[in-house]
């Protein structure tokens, strides 16, 4: 890896971090109910739309981080240690809600997509 490429990767990561930080600062200082990460995504989308392309290093860093997204979930999941009593107390509603609601949203999501797509295709004659 050349020095230039290493520099570009560092800058690309810094750009992602900067979007996250800017989003968090906006969310906190303006007391917005929108999470800082969501604002960060919108900032980056706006920047890419203005730029009209995705720099190669940014794409590579993003792909790498998304590929290993699971890693960053682990410290979040370990937080459950502090709440074992609550989980035990509410175990039945938790399991029912997780299974029931996930099945329902899979079914509703896929059927609505198919139904509306079928309608738009028949409305336009062909799509």
């Amino acid at each position: 890896m050349s020095l230039r490429r290493a520099r570009d990767l560092v800058i690309a990561f810094a750009a992602l971090a900067a979007c996250q930080i800017a989003g968090s600062l906006m969310s906190h200082s303006l007391h917005l109910p929108i999470p800082g990460t969501v604002i960060g995504i919108l900032i980056l989308l706006a920047a890419l739309t203005l730029l009209r392309r995705v720099p190669g290093a940014l794409r590579d860093v993003a792909e790498y981080m998304l590929k290993h997204l699971n890693l960053f979930y682990i410290p979040a999941a370990i937080g459950i240690m502090a709440h074992v009593a609550l989980v035990r107390q509410d175990l039945i509603p938790i399991l029912a809600a997780l299974f029931g609601s996930t099945f329902l949203s899979l079914i509703v999501g896929v059927l609505v997509f198919q139904w509306v797509q079928g309608k738009t295709i028949s409305d336009e004659g062909e799509a």
Partner: protein, 240 residues
């Protein structure tokens, strides 16, 4: 203060944090390799297995969550920039999104509201505590956004994170069977529903099944995260 004393303090505050980061990395890589060897079996979720292993090691060594968090907090912060990175596939695939804008928008609204409302209603009917319900509500959204939403409406972010991960695993395991039973074959519809209901873990699964399904799942997950962050606090205020 003697040199040895200084070194001990150094170990306490920085060294232990670094050790937990390294341990998290190593267990993650091990279980990731295991899942890949098993053909991507969603039951062998690396997050679940690594979390269980680390909690076991912490219990055995008599360390608590605060000790872990000296390092864990740094790793967790990186979830933010990693989630921001979702903007890039969304931007790159925008042309594909445009071709099915209407079914996508309809599925997104319906699926997103179903995911939130059904979790709240089931939790309430079965008598869960308010903190649990507030942590269940954002369960179909990708973790960092779900944690932030949970904090916003009085839930517990760590609990929300665990519910999100379980939701993803449930979706990844049962999604294909449910779509087959309903007779839906279009990979775009299947991927999209997967992304709405089961976020990143469902998306990872969708990519294993079909590239187009994975792309649509990723798009759905990102837009669903943004949308849910906007409307869930409002729904919560209305129901409370």
């Amino acid at each position: 203060m003697s040199d040895i004393g200084w070194q001990l303090i150094y170990w306490d505050h920085v060294g232990e944090g670094a050790a937990w980061i390294v341990l998290t990395l190593v267990t993650y890589l091990l279980f990731r390799a295991l899942q890949q060897r098993a053909g991507g079996n969603p039951v062998l979720n690396p997050v679940l297995l690594a979390t269980a292993t680390i909690i076991l090691l912490m219990t055995l060594s008599g360390r608590g969550y605060d000790d872990y968090n000296r390092g864990g907090a740094w790793l967790l912060w990186l979830l933010g920039p990693a989630t921001v990175a979702l903007a890039i596939p969304l931007y790159l695939n925008f042309a594909q999104v445009r071709s099915v804008l209407l079914p996508m928008f309809a599925a997104l609204m319906a699926g997103s509201i179903t995911a939130v409302l059904s979790a709240i209603v089931i939790g309430k009917l079965l008598g869960a505590s308010p903190e649990t319900i507030a942590s269940l509500a954002p369960k179909s959204v990708t973790t960092p956004i779900a944690m932030a939403i949970a904090a916003e409406i009085g839930g517990i972010p760590a609990l929300a994170a665990v519910f999100v991960i379980f939701t993803g695993i449930i979706g990844a395991i049962f999604g294909s069977a449910i779509f087959n039973a309903l007779g839906v074959k279009d990979p775009r519809a299947r991927g999209f529903a997967m992304g709405i209901a089961a976020h990143g873990i469902g998306t990872a699964r969708a990519f294993q099944v079909n590239w187009q399904a994975g792309t649509f799942s990723g798009i759905a997950m990102t837009i669903n995260g943004i949308l849910t962050a906007l409307f869930l606090p409002l729904i919560w205020l209305l129901l409370a």
